[in-house]
């Protein structure tokens, strides 16, 4: 029965959406909504003393844009597990810092990074933390704190043979993914924000969460470098 339920779910997903990116259309409540996150990246870019964040939302046409009532919030945990060694019983990952973005008119306005006054699902914007804005589609601006910011339409860089994934998950063919694939995201576009943030604004990174997990298991640690724990949310104005 479990297998049948799983097949049904995935079959419905395959019919409902031709494109599911890393997070595109991942759940019914956000399907075809302009709160649907397409993708999230965090990496060391051109500047080794900064961390680059990219958040993208699906862009179905050149006319699509960021919603003026949907705030994009990048969350940064820079303290890690509260009780090292107790993971996962006491995880403690929390939004120690946030960077917020909200479009108004032809500009994207940015705030932070700052410690939010609430770590729940509900957030407000502290306008005292404003760091500047960029015109949507412009090459980008240097904001307060040396943060390099961009907002506008870009190509979707994600790649995944999503149709074959659905086939594998749904009918378990003997060949699995086989030996060839088709990128379901070829030609897709996104509305993206890009933020290159000096690490000094993000605090000291904690012990890597995977090593905290290993320590909690009493297993040898991997020896990974200290790392922030980051994630992104879209939040709609009530």
């Amino acid at each position: 029965m479990k297998k049948i339920a799983l097949w049904s779910t995935l079959a419905i997903a395959a019919i409902a959406g031709s494109l599911i990116a890393a997070d595109h259309l991942d759940a019914p409540n956000v399907r075809n909504m302009n709160t649907d996150i397409a993708d999230f990246f965090a990496f060391e870019g051109e500047n080794s003393t900064s961390t680059t964040f990219i958040v993208s939302l699906p862009a179905g046409s050149a006319a699509s844009n960021f919603d003026e009532n949907v705030m994009i919030e990048i969350n940064i945990d820079n303290t890690g597990a509260d009780v090292p060694g107790a993971f996962p019983a006491s995880v403690g990952v929390s939004e120690d810092l946030v960077i917020q973005a909200l479009r108004q008119g032809d500009k994207m306005y940015f705030f932070g990074p700052y410690a939010p006054n609430s770590t729940t699902l509900s957030s407000t914007i502290d306008t005292n933390e404003a760091i500047g804005s960029v015109t949507i589609g412009s090459p980008g601006e240097l904001l307060t704190g040396g943060i390099h910011a961009f907002a506008g339409q870009r190509q979707d860089a994600f790649f995944f043979d999503f149709q074959q994934f659905n086939t594998v998950a749904g009918t378990a063919p003997a060949e699995g993914f086989g030996s060839t694939g088709t990128n379901a995201f070829s030609g897709a576009n996104v509305n993206a924000i890009v933020l290159e943030v000096p690490n000094v604004l993000l605090g000291t990174a904690p012990t890597h969460l995977a090593d905290q997990f290993r320590a909690g298991l009493g297993a040898p640690v991997y020896g990974l470098p200290n790392s922030y724990n980051v994630w992104v949310e879209t939040k709609r104005r009530n």
Binding site: S122, Q155, D156, N183, K235, N238
Partner: protein, 187 residues
């Protein structure tokens, strides 16, 4: 006259968006904003949340609560993928068993190191230091889920299904090494 000028300015300020610049008369950052969607690592909710209700709930569960709320569900989903192939999980390349793997993945946050080169996975001693635009995150996820302790279990050889690669690579020209790293949209 002065009064008339003030009145005119007031009217123009309360107009709708300026048709030339698209700039609104005012900006509004007030109010409370409530979570609709969230994401850390790629593909987690899509692949491991079993039902629509769980997919919705996963998007509005704060990370601190995700392991408690979803590791069991993720474990069941992964077990069902294996059952469909008449197989069972064996410890993966990170040395994790099925329950540990799904516990780690149910905490959907991305690690990024400020002091090391970024890679979603390079080797068993160098991984999860971030996610670049070029990282083949789907293959990495499949290897962690289906690759066994060598990373090559279910690689399509010796009569096994290929469950560790979707055989696609990044589309040429969708990313660059310079800010803003993504190339211009093409409709």
């Amino acid at each position: 006259m002065a009064v008339a000028v003030v009145a005119t300015l007031t009217v123009s300020c309360s107009d709708d968006d300026n048709p030339v610049t698209g700039q609104p008369a005012t900006t509004d950052f007030s109010g409370t904003f409530t979570t609709q969607d969230q994401m850390g690592r790629p593909g987690i909710n899509t692949v491991l949340s079993g039902s629509d209700a769980n997919k919705n709930n996963f998007n509005i569960t704060t990370p601190a609560n995700q392991i408690a709320a979803f590791s069991g569900e993720f474990n069941n989903t992964l077990g069902a993928y294996y059952a469909a192939y008449g197989a069972s999980f064996e410890n993966n390349i990170l040395g994790l068993d099925q329950a540990q793997t799904t516990a780690v993945l149910s905490l959907d946050v991305l690690q990024v190191s400020p002091d090391a080169p970024t890679s979603y996975f390079t080797s068993t001693s160098s991984f999860l230091t971030g996610r670049t635009l070029e990282d083949d995150v789907i293959d990495v996820s499949l290897i962690v889920l289906f690759g066994g302790n060598t990373g090559a279990r279910f690689d399509g050889n010796n009569g096994t299904p290929n469950l560790i690669s979707d055989n696609v690579s990044q589309e040429m020209g969708t990313s660059t090494s310079t800010f803003p790293y993504l190339t211009a949209a093409q409709f």
